[in-house]
Each structure stands twice: as C-alpha cells, then as structure tokens.
Subunit: 136 residues, 2 copies
C-alpha cells in the first residue's frame, strides 16, 4: 500500500498528493495526518493537488474529511495548486469543497494560515483582559 | 506521463518524489527543475524521498544529475527523508550519492541550505572590502 508522505515545515504540515487515492490510502492519510497534528502541535495543513488531473467526488470528500478532522484538532486546512481544468470540472460536477479553503500555491496557503491564526489571536479573550487592565 | 510537482517555499524549491521514476519522468523533472530555478532565482532544492522504498542506481544517478544541474544554476541540492532501510541498501549496493548532501527532514534541509548560503556570503569578496575599509 502506498503511503502519502507528510512533511513538516515550521508550524505547517505539507501533503503533496501525487498518487491515485484508493479507499485505503485515503483512510491511512487521514490517520497519519491526525497523528502528526497531535504529535507536532502544528496549526496548519496544506494539501497540494498540483499533480491531480481530476478531483472527483471521492477525492473531494476525502479533502473535506481531512479538513474536518484537522479543525477538531485546531489546525486549519488549505488546498493549494488546483489546476484551472480541475476547478472547472469541480463546478460542472456541482461539487462544493465543503469547509475547505483554497490558495493558488503553497506560499499563499502559508500566508492564509498565518493570517487566520493572527485573527484568532486578535479575538482571543486575552485581549479583552488587556483592555480591562488599561481602563482606569 | 506523470509529472512530479515542484513547490516553491521562500527561497527553496521542494520536490517530493512519490512515483516510480521512469526514464522520461526523470528527464522531465530535470528540465522542469532547471526552468523553475532560473524562473524563480531560488538558491536551494530539497528533494524528499520519504515515499521511496528503494533507491537504485537509476534514481541515484538522477539525484546526482539534478544536483549537478542545480549547482551550475547556483542552487544547492539536499536530499531529505531517506529511510533507514534505504540508507543501508545504498551502502550495501556500493552506491555513493556523488555531490549530494542529505538531511534528516525538510526543516533540517532548509537549515543546511540557509547555513551554506551564509557561509558563501562570508567568503564573498564584498566582506574583504569591508575589512579593508575598517582598517585605519
């Protein structure tokens, strides 16, 4: 069975999907990814699909599941590298990638995750405390 | 024909090899990589081989060729993610990865490239000028 490698780069886990995903490979990837998120404490998952010629409902569901699992583990998922033809087919098939954010390439995906983490911090309760202390 | 995706992360091009390399795929990867190095001006190439169960003489030669091409284009190549079994087989087969530097994972590979670039700068003639100016 093929196993999709997961690369850690700073606070982000990078997965580049290049092989045809079987049911088993997909489940294995979900498990591996969940374990790595917990083990590393990473807050972002970037899935690169540059190599995919087509994203069918199976792959779409897999991406949605990964995003949902990551969310529960406090990690943001961004899908990057989608080809124009893939985007067109997705829309034509009526597939919506539920709960999945996309970016053009890995670098923009990283920026998206960093920005989203920064927003989270702005909204964190810690900030309100700071304001309360500042009030005379 | 399968095409191995090349991901740009900052000053580094990342290639994750997951498919069995045919003659044609290897040549295509070399061409793509050379073009991307020139187009992006990146100074580092990281090749991840986590997914490879075996590195035979063909793959070894391909890695050496990529390293040589990158060197000519002023980019450093680091191979990362080699499995213990692969390392053992390489030595048993008597294959030496000529001109190839290795690191345990992507992050260490990035550090290696950054450190090596810093060394290059230290040895650059610009520094001697600075010293000359500093001398009274």
């Amino acid at each position: 069975m093929e196993r999709v490698p997961i690369l850690k780069i700073g606070d982000i886990l990078l997965v580049s999907i290049q092989v045809d995903m079987s049911d088993q490979t997909a489940v294995q990837l979900q498990e591996d990814l969940a374990e790595r998120i917990v083990a590393t404490g990473c807050h972002g998952v970037i899935i690169d699909i540059t190599a995919l010629d087509i994203v069918d409902s199976f792959v779409g569901r897999m991406l949605s599941t990964i995003a949902s699992i990551s969310k529960v583990l406090d990690a943001e998922t961004v899908v990057v590298g989608m080809r124009p033809a893939v985007a067109i087919t997705l829309v034509e098939l009526g597939l919506s990638l539920n709960g999945i954010r996309t970016a053009l390439n890995v670098e923009r995906g990283m920026e998206l995750i960093a920005a989203s983490r920064a927003d989270d911090w702005d909204e964190a309760p810690g900030d309100e405390d700071a304001e309360t202390t500042a009030t005379p």
